[in-house]
Amino acid sequence: MQNKAMTTFAEQVNRAQHEAMKADPGMLVFGLGLTDPKGIFGTTSGLGEAFGEQRAFDMPTAENGMTGIAVGAALAGSRVLMTHQRLDFFLLAMDQLVNNAAKWHYMFNGQMKVPLTIRLIIGRGWGQGPTHAQNLQSWFAHIPGLKVIVPSTTDAVANQLYSAIMDDSPVIFIEHRWLHQQQCEQARIGDITAKPQSVRIHRTGTDFTIVANSYMVLEALVAAKQLSALGVETDVVETSELEPATWQPVYDSVSKTGRVIICDSAHTSFSVASEIMCSVTEKCFGSLKQVPIRMGLPDYPEPTSIALTKHFYPTADSITKMVMSSLQREIPKSVYQNIGNDRTRPHDVPGEWFKGPF
């Protein structure tokens, strides 16, 4: 991309696609609005121009059929990347995903592969409401045969997406929309072809483990700073691959700290946080100094009105307060008042730059 000092998450998502299309001349990329003037929040811009409409194209509004077509093309030998502007729309395609894509390699005894990646974008805020803001990551993670990758940071995302695309198994790639404008220095972007880390330790400390993925990693990092100021040093561990077999660093961390809070960006019950808590309990039972804590969305749909979403999403503050209260430590009033004070923007937008409407 351009030679500038800073880059964004959306630009890196875009770059990964350009690089992959270049690396694999048979690769196809499609999705609703993929080649339109907005290019899916800018993440697909330029693909049509660079690779032609045979390889990069818009499609009919037909999520189930088009997913099956993606699976069929992948089985035939085309590497395929498909994008849906909201995860919610992809509910139409569960048959093709679960009964075909996930099981194919297995049920045909290894004779065929499904080199298919599906990008799903999670909406949030500005009245996205009940059917434009769901994160069903636990559904996908429950299905054997699917890999689920949930990126969070600009420095890693191009590598994660590129690796997902190049994987010969079907991969669900879940992007939280509030990450798209996240900035990062170009210099920090590493080799796109490297093997990405499934678990990443963003910060270390001996008192508490904070586990998070997706947008919650950003909140966790803010919380970690707040906690440090309060004398609590934390490990911040990101589980960007939803596969318990890759979570050893989580278990190592909890074995060390004996205390853990697991942050989820989906409904709390029957969630990814539930599985992480379960796995942690299995692996670290003897080291646990207190019961693990999970923190996700309440078990009701996201309402639309700004008045109703104020406390719907846990934030750095919620994490900090929960950790402190679990330690039975008071937050000094002076500190408490300052918590979160650096954020002046309304709670329903990722930044001041966001002006709606979609």
Partner: protein, 319 residues
Amino acid sequence: MSALLKYYQQVLRIRRIEEAIAARYSEQQMRCPTHLSIGQEAVAVGISANLTTADKVYSSHRAHAHYLAKGGSLERLIAELYGKETGCTGGRGGSMHLSDLAAGFVASTAIVGNSIPLAVGNALHQQVQCLNEMSVSYFGEGATEEGAFYESANFAALRKLPVLFVCENNRYSVYSPMSVRQPPNRSIVELAKAIGLNAVDVDGNDVEQVASVSAQLIDGIRAGNGPALIECHTYRHREHCGPNFDDDLGYRPEEEVQHWLSRDPVKVLADALSAQGLSQAEFEDLENQVQREIEYAFDSALAAPFPDPANNGQYVYAE
């Protein structure tokens, strides 16, 4: 009052309401995705002319005109856009989830094509219960690409259900033209007929044509002859979602835009009424009436309280 004048009044009313929403949207207080009906008002007005309050309507993301033409409360619409407690879903659903049960506007939903089966299910209930009413399903031409449309139409035809499918063909799905979504010679009417619906297409910007053709289809439906589809060719003036014009993006041919703007239903009707001798003063009167209603709705929406998040846990399950 002449039929034409009545149509004009209704089309104008919806237009001015939508324009008022557009004008205030940038104040950043209506915080939800909003798909305006500007340019497509004649469809809803023409169809609604043949419906009673007992008839039930479902719609899609672009529902304001359908809701208003069916008699949905303006105050509760505007309050909903502002996320207020007095909104038609108390702030829970926003612009994409409208409802006014008293008016027979059951609901609009935000997933393309997914309210079509609901309307058919409503018609199933009406048929089994021998109710003296029918159902209407509004959707865009993009929604006809979803299997949900096809499956619903098949079942409606199979059981001769009392439902009218209204397809507003505005040629675009977001920024995507028909050419990337449907084969070149696709006729939605022929498709509907092959599925088993009575079907016909009309100039969706001609409110009288919409009203008279749909009247015939609706008569047939009420007579038990089975479901029908009306395809209304029309055009949206502004961006897909949001208050602005977006023809600077260049996704629609300039001549196409001009052609449709010249056939703006408000303009077409106004011209006809002028020709019939409606005076400037009478026109202004109509505008003023609408303006007063709109101002009242905005004032009351702004004055209304926000819903209390303490009740967020309510209505997850029915009591």
